[in-house]
């Protein structure tokens, strides 16, 4: 496992506790993933269009996966998603919506805007751990990601 690649997740969420829980879950699940966080959609787009994750201390500029909250200040998840999917350079990065909303209108609209999947936030830490493992298993082991 020493040479195994470490995958990067960029999480946009205004809730610092959810960011903390994802970090804890990733480390608790012992998956080869680095978590970088920004507090809203505006910050996410700024980060990606100006040097990428390198500015946050990552080795490569592009995240392998974006976890996107829907309800955030400044630029919310829907607008961010639209911006990402209409940007020639950024549109290939898989975006997983991670939100508390279970409303059908949010789910359908997210897919309409090009979300790659939609997950509601876990209510227990056990579920956070399961989320970390499942995201890793699916997106970083099963799926062939875009090459850049």
């Amino acid at each position: 496992m020493i040479n195994a690649k470490t995958f990067s997740i960029l999480m946009a969420d205004d809730d610092p506790e959810d960011c903390l829980l994802l970090r804890d879950a990733v480390s608790g699940a012992d998956v080869p993933v680095s978590v970088f966080t920004v507090s809203d959609g505006e910050a996410l787009l700024e980060c990606l269009t100006s040097g990428g994750l390198v500015s946050l201390g990552a080795a490569s500029a592009r995240p392998d996966l974006i976890l996107l909250d829907l309800n955030m200040p400044r630029r919310d998840g829907r607008e961010t998603l639209r911006a990402l999917k209409s940007d020639r350079h950024l549109q290939t990065i898989p975006v997983v919506v991670l939100t508390t909303s279970t409303a059908a209108v949010d789910i359908d609209y997210s897919y309409e805007l090009g979300a790659n999947s939609y997950i509601t936030k876990p209510s227990t830490f056990q579920d956070w751990l399961a989320l970390a493992r499942t995201v890793n298993d699916y997106w970083f082991r099963l799926v062939e990601l875009p090459t850049g």
């Binding site: 809730d15 506790e17 829980l21 804890d24 508390t100 909303s101 936030k121 876990p122 209510s123 227990t124 830490f125 056990q126 956070w128």
Partner: protein, 512 residues
């Protein structure tokens, strides 16, 4: 035939008038042929009525007694109208009667009474019928609750009934002979109305004839009011006349506006409440989720470091958080009754109930109980909400079973006839469906009946029966949305019966 007696008899028999001779005491001793024929008597003198009274209409007789008898006593003669009646049927004959004393005008010296009943001529009958019709028309006009106004061919008011006086606040004398537009309608409308009236009188026709239209009229005080107007045109002495039937609908309009305002207000407050419940539920979930998750984290990290009390505290905290989560979910479900409402469609209640029973299979097996579903009607309803209704009611019936006993639940339904509301012109007879969910469980004291349908109301400590106290509140909200009622009958330890009454069909604008 040479005796004058015989000759007079023959003469009298030729008369079309009904002729009768009677004693001064009023006992007939002679009647001519016309009288005997009309009264239906055999052609014999001894078959005459016992008294004059017998062949008179009772009301007419009373009048004769009070008016004719005194007149005859005084002057020996009376003339006037009276009514005869046949002896063998109810047939009546209106006649002009002449009564006079024979032999002398002095009643002491007279020998007998003579009565000549003259049938009315066709003209007289028609004249009288016309008089009666006019009297009847007058009575109708004056007793009508609605104003009735007639406008003659010159466009001037010729009739103005009592209701019109009251509604418009003007005495008849002031209005008769004026143009209706001058006194009855607001200045701004005068021209339009007057043109219309003139046109109808000229042409004898118009688009508004015999149709109900709403107009603005004005009272004597100058206050305008809304009125419903129907016009008919007819002929009077060869000239066209317009009759207006006016109904003051200002009170009704006010009530309608009030009702609309109330409905809008209710809609707005309902909407606000739904928004509140929805947003609150979502926003309340957020910190709660954190309490639960960090509680997990704390327990998995620090379980060994904490003593028994510390661990117990965390357990209690997590239980409380879970309960809070359940309450919020309940509230969310309650708000969804309106936010997630679907249109009404035909729903087979029996099928829905059986599906719910199948879903509850595990619970039924756990309790060893049984749920019997009878034949049930098909009604117009929101299918998902009917499902939820049965789920909550049957679920409750299974939940509140007596200790150590297996629950037996019976679900049945039938059509019942609702109240009629013909006066308001609504649907003639709304058929309703009554649903009963009966159990043999622990029951409850009906003094709590008004509470059990309120949200978060529970009759049992949490330890005894799980639940958040939202189920029946959801039931009531569903039933209310369907325009129905829900109640229950029970006694502690005697089981409970929940009774839901729902309309079978809905008017097209309901259920949204």
């Amino acid at each position: 035939m040479n005796s004058p007696h015989e000759a007079f008899r023959a003469l009298a028999d030729e008369s079309r008038d009904l002729i009768c001779l009677a004693s001064l005491q009023g006992k007939p001793f002679y009647m001519n042929r016309a009288a005997r024929e009309w009264l239906g008597l055999p052609d014999e003198d001894d078959a005459l009525p016992g008294s004059l009274r017998e062949y008179h209409d009772p009301a007419s007789w009373d009048e004769l007694r009070d008016v004719a008898v005194p007149a005859v006593k005084q002057t020996g003669r009376w003339e006037g109208p009276s009514r005869l009646c046949r002896l063998d049927s109810d047939r009546r004959l209106s006649v002009d009667t002449t009564v006079f004393l024979v032999g002398s005008t002095d009643v002491e010296k007279a020998t007998c009474l003579a009565l000549i009943h003259r049938r009315r001529s066709r003209e007289a009958r028609l004249k009288r019928a016309l008089e009666e019709a006019q009297a009847r028309k007058h009575t109708i006009l004056e007793t009508s609750l609605d104003p009735i106004i007639t406008v003659n061919s010159r466009g001037l008011i010729s009739e103005f009934n009592r209701a019109a006086e009251q509604v418009f606040g003007r005495p008849r004398e002031q209005v008769l002979g004026t143009a209706p537009s001058e006194v009855l309608f607001p200045a701004s409308k005068i021209e339009g109305y007057q043109n219309r009236i003139d046109r109808y009188l000229d042409a004898g026709e118009g688009s508004l004839l015999s149709k109900r239209t709403e107009v603005v009229a004005v009272r004597a005080s100058g206050l305008p009011f809304e009125a419903e107007l129907t016009m008919t045109i007819s002929q009077e002495q060869g000239e066209p006349v317009l009759t207006f039937f006016v109904r003051d609908i200002s009170a009704r309009k006010r009530a309608e506006e009030e009702q609309l305002r109330h409905a809008a207000e209710l809609e707005r407050s309902n909407h606000e409440l739904e928004q509140f419940a929805y947003v609150a539920s979502h926003d309340l979930q957020e910190p709660l989720r954190k309490i639960r998750t960090f509680g997990d984290r704390l327990q998995s990290h620090a379980a060994e470091m904490l003593d028994v009390t510390g661990n117990e505290c965390i357990d209690r905290m997590r239980n409380a958080a879970e309960r809070m989560q359940a309450l919020i979910n309940g509230l969310l479900n309650l708000s969804r009754v309106t936010t997630k409402a679907a249109d009404f469609e035909p729903v087979d209640l029996g099928r829905v109930a059986r599906e719910v029973v199948a879903d509850l299979e595990v619970k039924i097996q756990q309790t060893g109980g049984r749920v019997d579903v009878d034949k049930m009607p098909v009604i117009q309803a929101d299918p998902l909400q009917m499902r939820q209704l049965f789920q909550n009611l049957i679920g409750n019936a299974l939940k509140f079973h007596r200790d150590g006993e297996t629950p037996l639940v019976k679900v049945s339904g039938r059509f019942v006839h609702g109240r009629t509301n013909r006066v308001l012109g609504e649907s003639p007879e709304r058929e309703q469906c009554q649903i009963l969910v009966q159990d043999d469980g622990i029951g409850f004291d009906t003094k709590y009946l008004d509470r059990i349908f309120d949200v978060f109301q529970r009759l049992h400590p949490r330890g005894e029966h799980e639940g958040t106290g939202v189920g029946l509140a959801i039931c009531r909200k569903i039933v209310q949305r369907h325009g129905g009622t829900i109640t229950a009958k029970s006694q502690p330890g005697e089981g409970a019966t929940f009774i839901v009454v729902l309309p079978v069909v809905h008017s097209p604008n309901e259920g949204h």
